[in-house]
């Protein structure tokens, strides 16, 4: 079955790209597309379940699955056969199991770029908040830093080119947008994106079980909350509560 890309391009069969002797990448496409990403996640689930001898770990990204293995313990030809078999007619795993509601305090000291973003697009700050918190975001991949979610689904009306002068440090929990992407800072980090708000939710907390709240394929919705609730939410997070709520899709 040919893989139809949303932009019309057709990938006849996923490409298997060598990554040295200890890894390979199965590439389903070259663009950011929910179906391509869905096939990556479907194959990831299959490979981890089949656990071929020598498998070390799998890394799903926007458009491909990187598989790392012990070159000595792995039957490479058998692995390729498995991948060829399993990718034939693979269906995207788009039925995401989890949708998370993440509370956000927008603007002011919590989101220092809200007004500037509103100005760039000729909108009121309230309208930007409305647009940002009405969308359903999909976690395409997690990377760059532990727990950093690359979110797709930003409304084009507020898509904003990255800042000319990146910041050396933005606080953990920053709700930000850059180009057509959106994200949540899992820890203090450098960033060239625009800060719209802040959440007390920690996508990554090494001392918490679970360490990572979100997984690739999950969905996120943002809920605007009043600054008066900040202290109570922060306290709950410090007590180890997720505060992000799992909701029905």
């Amino acid at each position: 079955m040919p893989f139809r890309q949303r932009n019309g391009g057709v990938v006849p069969t996923p490409k298997i790209l060598p990554c040295g002797d200890s890894a390979l990448t199965v590439e389903f496409g070259s663009t950011i597309d929910p179906d391509i990403n869905g096939m990556v996640l479907a194959l990831d689930e299959i490979v981890r379940a089949r656990a071929p001898a020598g498998l070390i770990e799998t890394v799903p990204t926007y458009r491909s699955l990187t598989i790392q293995f012990d070159p000595v313990a792995t039957d490479y030809d058998a692995l390729i056969r498995l991948l060829n078999d399993e990718t034939k007619g693979i269906a995207p795993r788009n039925a995401v199991g989890r949708r998370w509601r993440v509370p956000v305090v927008y603007g002011g000291e919590y989101g220092s770029d809200l007004e500037e973003v509103a100005e760039i697009h000729g909108l009121t700050p309230a309208r930007v908040i409305d647009i940002h918190s009405s969308a359903v975001y999909r976690i395409y991949m997690i990377g760059f830093l532990p727990g950093f979610t690359y979110l797709g689904g930003l409304d084009k009306r507020i898509a904003t080119s990255r800042r000319l002068h990146p910041r050396a440090k933005i606080p953990a929990g920053t709700i930000m947008i850059g180009g057509e992407q959106a994200g949540i800072a899992p820890m203090d980090m450098p960033s060239g994106w625009h800060n719209l708000g802040l959440t007390p939710v920690r996508p990554y907390a090494p001392e918490r079980d679970p360490v990572f709240l979100f997984a690739a394929g999950d969905e996120i919705v943002f809920e605007p909350v009043d600054a008066s609730r900040w202290e109570a939410m922060e306290k709950a997070v410090k007590a180890g509560e997720p505060v992000a709520e799992e909701v029905r899709a």
Partner: protein
């Protein structure tokens, strides 16, 4: 509890083991020892499994003391020396640091990374399954930090009674080109650029750290632009940003990235490459999977054979053993013959 106390060390001195496996899908870099061969040697000398966490020295040595008891220790990698209260320890030899004595580890001389292993490993709590320190994630090491003067590293007293040993084999570095496998994105480059990669000499720039080594050399031209939608990265990937100057990605690399990767250094050659310093010249040779896997097997066998090449120091000092050591010296190294077959 017996502690290894840090008296002084360089800023990037930190704990490293095999690396943090299983969390790259959540954005956590694997990190891990830059030269697994040297880590394995230090560990073999004190009777540890090859990948046990040890102290990794980066360019600079350090000074340590034992508190609360004696410690059985070993130093290996990049020709770093060790001395106890001013008395040099013979190379590739484990030793006992008695309570109150001072160990001085010299700076790595022939490379960048050296290792200090403690018998029984360190009694430090791993984070996400590993003690490997990773700067950007603030994970591993001592609660997410590198070592600094004043740190007490808890050790396991029940493991410190081991006998000092000497290792009769050593790493003999190849001098030929580093072996690479082309891909994953070699098709993003012009054929001329592939030839340039394989036929030119590159220089390791001063921008070389645990994340990656920037190389300078002829400009590699992209045939299809230099931005790709981010995909997975592995150790040894040679990525080429818009400048056309390649970067070899090392243990602290990110988990995904958006520059095309022209080729990948084979796993068996990464330790040797890690020990090459800024200013060193490097060439690349393309190999097929068979050769890369054979080299990986040879390295794995070599590491597994280390415990069989230990002799107690008290025997090593007898004439007979010195003689036998001279006779076998220089011939018993799997790595030295790896790519001449």
């Amino acid at each position: 509890m017996t502690d290894l106390v840090v008296k002084s060390c360089g800023p990037m001195t930190a704990l490293q083991d095999r690396g943090r496996i299983g969390y790259q899908g959540f954005g956590v870099s694997p990190s891990g020892a830059m030269d697994r061969r040297a880590l394995a040697m230090a560990n073999a000398l004190v009777g540890n499994p090859a990948d046990t966490a040890a102290i990794e020295f980066v360019n600079l040595g350090g000074a340590f003391m034992a508190a609360g008891g004696d410690l059985h220790l070993a130093v290996a990698g990049a020709g770093a020396s060790a001395s106890v209260d001013g008395t040099p320890v013979p190379p590739l030899t484990s030793f006992v640091l008695k309570e109150g004595q001072t160990l001085e580890v010299g700076h790595p001389r022939t490379g960048t990374f050296a290792y200090l292993a403690v018998a029984g490993g360190l009694a430090v709590e791993p984070q996400l399954g590993s003690l490997s320190f990773h700067l950007r994630s603030r994970l591993g090491g001592l609660k997410g930090s590198p070592l600094q003067a004043g740190n007490h590293l808890p050790c396991r007293p029940e493991h410190q009674a081991g006998e000092p040993m000497q290792l009769t084999i050593d790493i003999v570095e190849e001098t030929g080109p580093l072996r690479v496998m082309l891909g994953p994105q070699d098709d993003y480059f012009t054929p001329e650029s592939i030839s340039l990669l394989l036929e030119s000499e590159f220089t390791i720039s001063p921008q070389a750290d645990r994340m990656g080594f920037q190389l300078t050399g002829p400009k590699l031209e992209h045939a299809k632009g230099f931005n790709i939608v981010s995909d997975g990265i592995v150790d040894g990937h040679i990525q080429v940003p818009g400048s056309g100057q390649p970067i070899v990605l090392m243990r602290d690399r990110q988990t995904a990235g958006g520059y095309p990767k022209i080729a990948t250094v084979i796993s068996a050659d990464l330790g040797r490459f890690a020990q090459m310093r800024p200013g060193a010249k490097v060439r690349f040779r393309a190999v097929e999977r068979d050769e890369a896997v054979a080299a990986a097997r040879q390295l794995k066998d070599w590491i597994a054979s280390l415990p069989a090449h230990l002799i107690p120091v008290r025997y090593a000092l007898t004439t007979e053993h010195l003689l036998s050591r001279n006779l076998i010296g220089g011939t018993v190294d799997a790595l030295s013959t790896a790519s001449h077959d």
